[in-house]
């Protein structure tokens, strides 16, 4: 669906390229995450994929055509939600969606249905100027879905959302994948990426350091330790770590389980954020 080869991009007036030779492919029906700190080149790569930045070097093939050569009909097949949700402030949410819906020639989704799915139907006739950031973010996703796109580009889709609405957005993204949509998410939110992405690419300084599934990464970077928290007889809380290897015959471990009041027990899996820092030597903020 998306094939990118040796992608370089330099902004006018800058000596240093922002993208320094990216290679990746995204299959149909996949949720692919671009992860990296601000300024890593994630948004630049996304702008190239959506046809906004054209003077790149390398190959970017989407729907079997070079993106720099696409016509405006390309936009009938993709949906984009930018990081900052911008709308006509004096129009209501449903008016904004109706306006954008009418810009497409193909079959479109019903705005009221999208608003209902995103929990915005009650505010459908409210002017966007009165919307909160979280409401605008959900409305932003609705707008990106108006033309039933085959490929969806989402920049920080859960930014500014409370946990309940973030879940609503994540569930919607997963249901879109189940419908066969291809989704590229750009984020520095590791937990969102961990929850919904099939594969993630770690991007630092315009390069992809690694591409893998979140699960594979966690397994590969697993510390293979078990950590217990338990109370001694004098009620003092004690923490102990044991190797996972041979845990079933580890007498110390088994002894604690049998004789003490164990309060927590966890394998020490690395989080995506830990792995990112390990691999790239950089934080995400």
């Amino acid at each position: 669906m998306i094939k990118v080869e040796k992608l370089f991009f330099t902004y006018p007036g800058r000596k240093e390229p922002t993208l320094k030779g990216m290679d990746f492919t995204i299959k149909k029906g996949e949720i692919f995450g671009f992860l990296g700190p601000s300024g890593a080149g994630k948004s630049t790569a996304q702008k190239i994929l959506i046809g906004m930045l054209k003077n790149y070097q390398g190959g970017v093939h989407i729907f079997d055509q070079e993106v720099s050569q696409v016509r405006r009909s390309y936009y009938e097949r993709i949906g984009v939600a930018f990081e900052f949700p911008n709308f006509y402030q004096r129009l209501t949410a449903i008016e904004n969606l109706s306006l954008f819906r009418n810009l497409y020639a193909g079959d479109t989704a019903v705005p009221a249905q999208l608003l209902t799915e995103m929990g915005l139907m009650e505010s459908a006739h409210m002017k966007v100027a009165a919307y909160s950031k979280g409401m605008k973010m959900r409305l932003n996703l609705c707008r990106a879905l108006l033309n039933n796109p085959d490929i969806l580009f989402l920049d920080e889709p859960t930014s500014g959302l409370d946990p309940l609405n973030a879940k609503k957005v994540k569930d919607k993204i997963i249901s879109l994948k189940e419908e066969g949509k291809t989704i590229l998410i750009t984020t520095h939110n590791m937990s969102t990426a961990d929850e919904i992405c099939d594969r993630v690419a770690f991007i630092v300084d315009g390069k992809i350091e690694l591409i893998n599934s979140p699960r594979n990464l966690r397994v590969l970077h697993n510390k293979r330790k078990v950590r217990l928290e338990y109370r001694r007889k004098d009620h003092q809380l004690v923490t102990s770590e044991f190797d996972l290897q041979g845990i079933g015959t580890n007498h110390d471990f088994l002894g604690i389980l049998q004789t003490h009041n164990v309060e927590t027990i966890h394998t020490q899996e690395a989080t995506l954020e830990d792995i990112f820092i390990n691999v790239t030597g950089r934080g995400l903020k």
């Binding site: 006018p12 405006r72 009909s73 936009y75 911008n86 954008f100 810009l103």
Partner: protein, 235 residues
Amino acid sequence: MRFPAAFLYDIKIQFRHGLYAVYMLVSLFYIIALHQIPEQYREIAGIFITFSDPGVLGFFFIGGLVLLEQNQNILDNLFITPYKVEEYIFSKALSLTVLSVLTSYIIHISVFGVSHYLVLFLVGVFLTSMFFTIFGLGVAVRCHTLNGFFFLSSIYSLIFLLPLLEITGMDHFLFMLLPTKGALLLISSGFHSITTWEAIYSVVMLLSWGVIAFIWARKSFYNMIIRKASEGKTL
């Protein structure tokens, strides 16, 4: 139905920004003012007012509307849809021209009554507004602020206002090459008859200048907005 929808929403947005309310008040002011002017000067004042306000209002308002969309990053979102630059320009120009024609009509019939020359008069307002609005859009995309737009637009528009000097008795044959000459002739047809040749000359002049303005505005939009975005500068 991309263009009709975009056009109707442009009118709706202008309505929500209060343009229609403001122009109803402005029209009322002109109607009262024209009634106060002595009858022998009323016609010339009517021509001058129709040209300089309803006729050219789009030139100034287009700056506000385009800069608003630019500053609110709406353009990013519009142009990741199949919406074309040509449709955008036409929709903006036509929607502001509706306001021009409507207010000119109201002012005219309220002060001078209904005459059978009104069609040519309204054609004049229509073509004048289309030309000046498209021209204004070409200026607006070169600016980042409203103040910058007003400064630049007064420089750009100066040459087109020269034929207004005719009102003071100054005339020059080169004024014939400017669209304003045609605009004033057509607008004056609402008060007294003009010859067929004058009507044809005026329409051809305004249409030709309209095409030139459109080509220039489209090129400006691509260079100042689309190309800048495609080079990585923010819109």
